[in-house]
């Protein structure tokens, strides 16, 4: 791999912020690349998790958040499981996703942030995930309305997807949780 880092004193690297967010000691990574070797999607992205770690060490800034691995990562945690130094690499990926969303970094192929938003909206409203509402919101957002519609008749026939919204969840608590999460974010916690 070739890594180019902009040398600019004004550019603040992400290393400290990510270490704070995850509590992980990223400094102990010695680039054995077991994370990338075991990663099921590193071949589908321009760079694997080991390169992300190295870039962080070299004090890369916001440009790192445009890396496609952030939204190709399937959160399988194989990287964390196999890291000989016990670094929670998957938590680093989560932290980068949070920062990428905050800083509105480029969104690559597919639209994982939109899916996550649609999913969490249905949880906020119903206390549980409501698949049809969530899928519709996601599809409207991506404008790819026809994807997977071929399976829909069979799913309906087999009653493999709920038509009615979930009832019986303690929605009050879920809403309080979302409210608290927003307050904490605003307070910089």
């Amino acid at each position: 791999m070739t890594i180019t880092i902009k040398k600019d004193k004004r550019v603040k690297g992400l290393l400290r912020r990510i270490a704070d967010m995850t509590g992980a000691d990223l400094g102990v990574c010695y680039q054995c690349k077991r994370c990338t070797s075991g990663c099921p999607v590193s071949k589908l992205a321009a760079s694997g998790p080991a390169e992300m770690m190295r870039r962080l060490h070299l004090n890369a800034g916001d440009e790192l958040l445009d890396s496609d691995i952030i939204w190709t990562c399937v959160s399988c945690e194989t990287c964390s499981a196999r890291c000989p130094m016990g670094i929670d690499v998957a938590a680093v990926m989560d932290a980068m996703r949070t920062l990428a969303r905050e800083k509105r970094a480029a969104r690559q192929k597919g639209n994982v942030p939109l899916f996550n938003l649609a999913f969490l909206q249905s949880v906020r409203l119903f206390g549980r995930s409501y698949d049809i509402a969530m899928i519709t919101a996601y599809k409207l957002g991506t404008l790819k309305l026809m994807n997977d519609t071929d399976k829909f008749p069979a799913m309906l026939r087999k009653r493999k997807i709920a038509l009615l919204p979930p009832l019986g969840a303690d929605r009050k608590t879920t809403r309080r949780i979302f409210k608290k999460a927003r307050q904490r974010k605003e307070a910089g916690l």
Partner: protein, 289 residues
Amino acid sequence: MKYAYFPGCSAESTARDMHASTTAVARSLGIELVEPKGWTCCGATAGHQTDRFLAAALPAASLAKVKDTGLDMVVSCAACYNRMKIANHEISASPDLRKGVGEALGRDYDGSVKVRHFLEVLLNDVGTETLQGSVKRSLNGLAVACYYGCLLVRPHDVTCFDDPENPTSMDRLVTALGGRALEWPHKVECCGGGLSLSRTDVVVRLTESILGMAQAAGAGCIVVACPMCQINLDMRQLDIEKQMGKSYRMPVLYITQLIGLCLGLSPDELGLDKLMISATDVIQAVGVA
């Protein structure tokens, strides 16, 4: 044997068969499962990819409802299981997080409710000998690829489930039922999980690799313990057929469906009609007319 039971959102939608077969097997083995009233979503992948507080507080909401009963929380969905275990872990390690979660829930929660997958109850509390004693139909040597995926075994220091690289929990159950549990290398590979809709391209590639390996190992079916593994491995076979021209027609069952068949429960009761790839061959192998 009495437990609190968390069905998870998919139990009401895409994994009704997981829920139906879990509760049917439990009834049949004399296990009492009590759903906590008003249980809510664990936040799943979307939660932890979005916000660390949400990822801990959402599962804690349901766990706190169980706290006073003193019961263990039994979960049949590997994703809910994983999120609940991680939430417990993080809340017990961070006083600040515990305080924030407590404020959101309106009550303190210390992260102490024991979370267990239904597989662990079957293996450790029921035991394979008792299970064998209840078997009415044998698997008759059926070759089964047990697929564990990610969320049961990782992160291992938190889930503490079986061996992280070569788990054998389901293999032991299959063997006890008279099946042949295959040695195969993709037990803990990832199917793409929650990216099924947002990165279908990735999921199609990953599931194809798992299905291909199961077929090469000579599997008559794959068994799983996670609704995302099930729907990805089952439904994405249709895309694999269209996009890659490979037809696997590999039945992908919940382990509880396979156990239920052996306990003499009917295929309908176990939701076997909900599979996209028909499990007729498996049902016949077990000797159900």
